[in-house]
Symmetry: C2
Subunit: 595 residues, 2 copies
């Protein structure tokens, strides 16, 4: 029968089956290892290990002798960092099998958005806003410092390489800066995996995770800015015009992506506010997930940063749209993204391991690799210690030294670095960068990831913190009402305009907006408020109790999953943190409009 | 900025974004139309409509003049129905863009398994078993009758075509039979959509849905058998050897796929029975979903029928594994598959609409199309009425005439027919078959699907049935204890061996298995039973109440979603139906092994 059977073979089924089997083995072995108290293992590392094994197997079985490594003209390849234009015509830079580039894009488009969205969506918003200044400093200033540091370091090492051996292609300053930009971002996927495993102190969690989510955006934009700069110029002499152009590009991508993320939140929030979508949790979940995913896809499709867009979308959805959802819809959405986040992390790291051994055109430069290893630590030190010192001058609750040491240490690299490096593997220089990036990822995930647990014990940092520290958190909130420079403007925008426009909470828009915007205010006012404002006010009061009850019930239901209750806290805190009106829950009414 | 922006464009993001937007528009418009009581619309039809619009737009924008239609040698292409061998080397038969074939495969591998799995998993098992004989008759005998009927009809029409005009390529009997096999299967996706919208009588639901799920398998295997037969022979003269070979292939694929589905259920059941996976609902959900998906992927990867495998996997998972899951895991799994099922249906039908207008090599043969239209009705009549007459001779509760009329009418075609037809579009004959299949799908979905609601009213068939008819159902079960020929053997296998081996229910294996299998029985015995059998028996009794309570609680939690409670019934019924011991629920204990 084998001959007949062969005939129907599906070209997609086999690799997907291999990937699924890999994911299953990873899940089960991590789970078993953790049962035996091997706290050192993490999903990312194990997935990578199995990916390496699979890559090795595939390479040993299918060695395609005729496979050509991508072209060797670094200047041109630097320009054509990704193929231009139309779907059918693009050059396959990464590998001779078109499926491979395609696979990679499918993988990233499918799994990266839910991972980033989940991270942003489940962020403890109050703590995040409390630490926002510091997080932004680390993410923006820190990443630029990192990029410059690594770039400078690597430039030194490439000069040394030039002295010791004559490489075929020369490394320019822009190449070094490009490598700096790629390596400067810590990875939210692995950092989040590490943090949720170890359950460190909540402030440290916020600082590390907030930084890792936001610095991705910075690294992505920096990489593009450097590429744009290189395209303008040979990359040797400083050109103010090109620099300005790159800077404008940096700002444009950042602002554009931010706006796109916000637009999709506004659409979702208005849809859930003004329609009866909440009566059908399945529809609610589908529409919410598709719209959130759209923020990433649309940003990528028009050349902006999908990660930045989906991150802002996640943050704003958790702040506004969530208040319009039914309690079942809320639970479903969280569980859906949780599964995607979990499987996505395993898939992406497994794939990275697979590519490391499957890719046949690696270029190992020992000096470049050792330079990278050194510069990663140096740049992290130049990022964390001086910035923490400056930040501590302004902070009421200082960042302790032990936190700084751990932050210095926990600079795990991952999916974003891989994605930036894989964009261009044409030319020896780019392949050296790609190979070194992959090795750095393996190193940080395996060595730094595994050493995190002993490191935390050594530094005596609180671990096993229950993220559901509701009471303590609220007291902390009241006790430390410190002046936050962002709070004033933000509070007025958030509480007076965005909340009433997008949700049923906050003061009516007719009051907060000037007279001239009367029509606008009436259109976007909560339909309930318009119908009977006094009744609504009563409902809000009553709603407070219902919400609390609802949360308690669902917390009981999902008592096994800590993260579920963690978010319940966020929902409450997100609202209580800035002293807005309590959410008015919209439970499904009796009249069910079935789809 | 546009130049710089263009550079980063992702070749996957734009089409996926278009697809997501299409899905969103479909969801929202169907939902809005249903709110206005337009009961006639269904998701499949609307998704197809938007798909057609998108296809038209894409075709108008990107008209690739140089695109070549696939080769014209029908005999050869008939043999090479799908490309052989290695990933990199296959011929692209469907389109000149490799992404398109790939897209299609990704779409089917991603969405078809959850749709079929969800259908089988949420089937009311007791009703299904009660109607099993009839369902199997319709699915097996009926589909073969349909295939023969359509084949014969089409052969007549092709002869007529030959008389009226001389086509470039001649239709052989095997081509007509191939078209018969493709068109003989009613589609579970659209039938399920129709049935769950209209909520018809439960017996009619079982008959129609059971038939549509199982006849897919028959159609798939028939198509392959005919292809195998064609390969053996020129397809003109009857050859007993080739016929026998095709028959063996038919049996081999059916049994192989069935076994693969069962194997993955056994793995899942043993994993959930003997490990503490149920303490972590996220892991439980992931492992369960990945293993169920694996049944489809592995079957496709080794040339068997993925649909048959995943269907048996769904049926058996609902019977055994479900009893080992935690209540939260159960709810999560149902919700996850519900979302996938919902989005999958929209995606697949949207894609079919898209391809209908996007594909440039259609071959419209008016005579062939009108023949197909006629033969679809004739074959359905030859299938339903004679078989119903024969079945009614043996059934205690007869299939009423009005049910037969509706069944005759509700022969919607869909994803499976499309999938079978799209496998080969080389040659004029195959392209005629492909085009006609697509048109038949559009016709049945739009015309028959829309007319179902008025038809049901006209025939005075009970609608709006609450699937949660627990009490009535149980009374019905006790009242109609009719002799079922399958029940005796099945009961003993299910209750005495499979249940005790795979779950914590049923009599201990040490009793039911002969003495010689002592070791085997001890290994697979429930760990609790081994520890203390008497205590276990008490626990089972206590467990009965706990389970009932648990179900009630979760039913309260998800009171908005009817389908959720429908499945709760299945869980209980599946167990009570055949008089086995009640399930022993395994709630998560206090000691949490976190991953």
């Amino acid at each position: 029968m084998s001959g007949a059977v062969q005939q129907k073979q599906d070209i997609v089924a086999l690799p997907v089956f291999a990937a699924v089997t890999l994911a299953l083995i990873t899940i089960l072995s991590v789970w078993k290892l953790k049962q035996f108290k091997y706290k050192l293992v993490n999903e990312a590392g194990v997935a990578m290990f199995y990916g390496l094994l699979l890559g090795l197997t595939v390479r040993l079985i299918w060695t395609d002798k005729g496979e050509q490594c991508p072209g060797n003209t670094s200047e041109i390849s630097m320009v054509n960092i990704t193929p231009h234009g139309h779907v059918g015509n693009e050059k396959r830079q990464f590998s001779s099998h078109p499926e491979e580039t395609f696979d990679l894009q499918v993988l990233f488009n499918l799994f990266l958005p839910p991972i980033i969205f989940h991270g942003a969506y489940t962020l403890n918003q109050k703590r995040f806003i409390a630490n926002l200044g510091s997080v932004l400093t680390y993410a923006f200033v820190g990443t630029i410092i990192s990029c410059m540091c690594i770039g400078a370091c690597m430039y030194g090492f490439t000069k040394l390489m030039l002295l010791l051996s004559k490489p075929k292609e020369e490394f320019f300053v822009t190449h070094c800066l490009l490598f700096g930009a790629i390596m400067s971002a810590t990875d939210p996927v692995s950092v989040l995996g590490l943090l949720s495993d170890l359950r460190v102190d909540l402030d440290l969690h916020m600082l590390l995770f907030g930084e890792s989510v936001l610095n991705d955006a910075v690294a992505i934009v920096l990489t593009h800015a450097i590429t744009t700069y290189t395209r303008m110029d040979a990359g040797l002499i400083f050109d103010p015009t090109a620099f300005l152009h790159a800077f404008v590009f940096f700002l444009g991508v950042l602002i554009g992506s931010f706006l796109l993320g916000l637009i999709f939140t506004v659409i979702t929030a208005l849809l859930t506010k003004f329609t009866r979508l909440h009566e059908n949790p399945l529809l609610e979940t589908s529409v919410f997930s598709l719209l959130s995913w759209s923020s990433y896809l649309s940003a990528e499709a028009c050349g902006l940063s999908g990660i930045v867009a989906v991150m802002f979308c996640g943050l704003s959805q958790a702040r506004y749209t969530v208040l319009n959802l039914s309690s079942e819809g809320r639970a479903r959405i969280k569980q859906l993204f949780e599964v995607f986040n979990f499987l996505g992390e395993i898939s992406i790291f497994g794939y990275m391991g697979y590519i490391l051994l499957k890719f046949t055109c690696h270029k190992f430069e020992p000096l470049f690799i050792s330079g990278a290893l050194l510069s990663v630590f140096i740049s992290r030190a130049f990022n964390i210690y001086p910035l923490s010192f400056l930040l501590n001058l302004g902070r009421t609750n200082k960042i302790p030294c032990k936190f700084q040491h751990f932050m210095m240490f926990a600079g795990l690299r991952g999916a974003v670095a891989f994605r930036l490096a894989v964009k261009n593997t044409a030319g020896e220089v780019n392949r050296t960068i790609f190979t070194t990036t992959l090795l750095m990822i393996v190193f940080t995930i395996w060595v730094l990831g595994t050493a995190a647990d002993p490191m935390l014990r050594r530094l005596d940092i609180r671990m096993g913190v229950d993220p559901d520290e509701n009471q303590e958190d609220r007291i902390f909130e009241i006790a430390t009402e410190r002046p936050d420079t962002t709070q004033g403007l933000w509070h007025s925008l958030d509480y007076k305009y965005l909340k009433p426009m997008l949700t049923h909470c906050g003061p009516p828009l007719t009051e907060s907006l000037p007279q001239c915007c009367g029509v606008f205010a009436r259109v976007f006012s909560s339909p309930h408020v318009q119908e009977d404002e006094e009744e609504e006010l009563c409902e809000i009061e009553a709603g407070k109790n219902t919400l609390d009850l609802g949360e308690t019930e669902s917390q009981q239901g999902s008592s096994e999953s800590d993260s579920a209750s963690e978010h319940q806290e966020d929902l409450l805190d997100g609202d209580l943190g800035l002293g807005t009106a309590p959410a008015q829950p919209r439970e499904a009414s009796g009249s069910s409009t079935q789809l």
